[in-house]
Symmetry: C2
Subunit: 375 residues, 2 copies
């Protein structure tokens, strides 16, 4: 039946999309036709949500309306509240958050409706709820009282406020806002593709997003930013220790996370921005240790293996400098990517076809049943 | 970058597998090299689990050992127990069960371990836990005391016992056992493919299975068996009313669920068995209404559209005759398919490559940022 074979689907076009585009050869990324270099640092995450979910950058009125919607939706339902104290026993945040995100459907008034209008309402709500959920989870697992959401802060600023308990500087808010824009969408990455495969059975938005959470968790996907930070903190000594560490890891055959990408054959354009942000945050805080370690590691890995850093590499030192706990780095990725995931579910439902590939059978053939006494 | 384009991936080989194989032209299905016609009715679901997860039909000793493991694992952890009373508020069983399955990881001793050995232990546990979870959910939502699991009954018999509260006849146990065998695996169906995409990020077993639950729910996939039953019960009058009903639905452009399949170009071999089972259960119960309705609908749809019934079509009247509530039909599918899903996650982790397809961009290009005041 199936004619084209591609393990990992690396050279297969699985879907058409008008949400984002990547030129892997020249290292360019576009959201709805805007080059990421043209919009990163110039638009807020809320404007980016509007762009991805609704197709265009908003007018001032459109942005005001969306911000009002998002601020009003900064709450989780009674069911998810009730689950929180139980799932904090999970070993990792992404494990707990997968269950919590799944439970959001129970109190969602549109849960049973997969019309475009209902999908759009759920998409907006999920973008608003995800950072609140991470903050509530963080408070619950640390036993602290939840920090109240501040309606004067946008998604980026409010998240830093709720997670750190310190009012973030304007510059920290802007930089984190740009982080969220940079991670918002990336064509058919594994979690987005998961969401589309689920949505293509005409299953619902929350099922698709819960699946995406599970995929993002993997160390070959969103889990990589945590792995990078753990690598950086594991290196003892000063920056000159980095070279020896890298060579030792590589000669032991261990993979260094945060380098290389399935699609980019040159520098990941998101890394260009995150590198600068890591440098600036080091200077602002007076502690450039992890920026300098990262810079050196980047050079050594490129000299040794010819690999470029990807989005996860400099995100690690940036999030660390912003005061985010390391094991919340992947949840932060989810806060941003929720905007892209939900846009892709809407797009899939708008013009659906079941995604059901073939496979090549490589096992034994022609076996015949025998009675259990004769096996 | 991407060269081969296939919306829905209908003609793309996405993976190699030694678990199952389909010959769509001749309507044949194989589990690990055994023709489904050779094993359906001859092996128990437990033997099928052994075949799919471990590669071979078990010896008597192997089966005894697996049955002991499965019986011992008929329990859900304290976290999932605590969530049950809250998620029963979900509008549908699959929505509640998606959250509950996700929560099983919290108390799983192997949750953080994706080695082959740990994956195998989790795979066995999940097969044992899934029917218990459905039964506990059913008890919780109806406010009845849970029916205690009976260690003398296999998975099929114990599920009927716990769901209906009546001790099932030997024949009912055997027939339901065969239903579970028939639904156990089916190559790269949408839920199994979802599980593999998630597992291919090196994410964990529970993340993959939770995603699969979300995909199975869709009406183009596992949700179809419920839709078939709702269609059958909606027809008023006697069997002669079926023709008019079918023609009215089709002329109104509505899709009749349970017919046609992406892969089979002839009769789905599973439907052959389920048709006979539906007939036998009608005779045994003295009520053949839904069997006769199904038979007539099959003929009318074939005469009108040339479509064959798929696995979901006769499963509906079979499950109904076995006393299973209609909205638990898709959860029953999940009980069976858990064996295939988990086998595929093990296989994916054993020889992994990230599944990350390309996409074709169809949106606007060359857009340039403008200040919000000028949009």
């Amino acid at each position: 039946m199936a004619e084209k074979s591609s393990r990992g689907l690396a050279d297969v076009v699985a879907a058409t999309t008008s949400i984002s585009d990547i030129d892997g050869e020249s290292g360019r990324l576009f959201y709805r036709g805007y080059d990421i270099h043209d919009i990163a640092g110039r638009i807020s995450f809320e404007e980016c949500v509007h762009l991805l979910q609704r197709g265009d950058l908003p007018t001032q009125q459109g942005l005001d309306d969306l911000e009002d919607e998002l601020t009003a939706a900064r709450q989780i339902g009674a069911t998810t509240e009730a689950l929180l104290p139980h799932v904090v026993r999970a070993a990792t945040p992404m494990e707990a958050l997968r269950t919590l995100v799944s439970s959001l459907s129970v109190d969602d008034p549109d849960a049973g409706d997969s019309s475009v209008e209902a999908d759009r309402r759920k998409a907006t709500r999920l973008v608003a709820q995800m950072p609140i959920l991470v903050a509530r989870y963080e408070a619950a697992r640390t036993g602290r009282a939840p920090v109240e959401s501040d309606p004067d802060l946008g998604i980026a600023g409010n998240f830093l406020w709720q997670i750190t308990g310190r009012y973030p500087s304007d510059r920290a808010q802007d930089l984190f806002d740009t982080c969220l824009v940079l991670h918002a969408d990336h064509t058919m990455n594994a979690s987005t593709f998961t969401a589309r495969v689920i949505a293509a059975t005409l299953s619902d938005m929350h099922s698709a997003i819960t699946g995406a959470m599970g995929a993002l968790r993997g160390p070959l996907h969103g889990g990589a930013n945590e792995a990078v930070m753990n690598t950086l903190t594991s290196i003892e000594g000063d920056v000159d220790a980095v070279d020896g560490f890298v060579r030792e890891e590589l000669s032991a055959g261990r993979k260094l996370m945060g380098f290389g990408h399935r699609v980019y054959k040159t520098e990941d354009p998101r890394a260009t921005h995150l590198r600068k942000m890591s440098e600036e945050l080091g200077e602002l805080s007076g502690n450039s240790r992890y920026y300098e370690f990262s810079r050196r590691m980047e050079q050594t890995v490129f000299d040794t293996k010819g690999l470029y850093p990807n989005v996860d590499f400099y995100a690690a030192s940036v999030y660390h400098a912003l005061g985010i706990p390391t094991d919340l780095f992947t949840p932060v990725f989810a806060i941003s990517r929720m905007s892209g995931w939900t846009a892709h579910v809407i797009e899939q439902h708008e013009d659906n076809r079941l995604i059901r590939p073939g496979s090549e059978y490589t096992g034994p053939t022609g076996r015949r049943w025998a009675d259990i006494a004769e096996r």
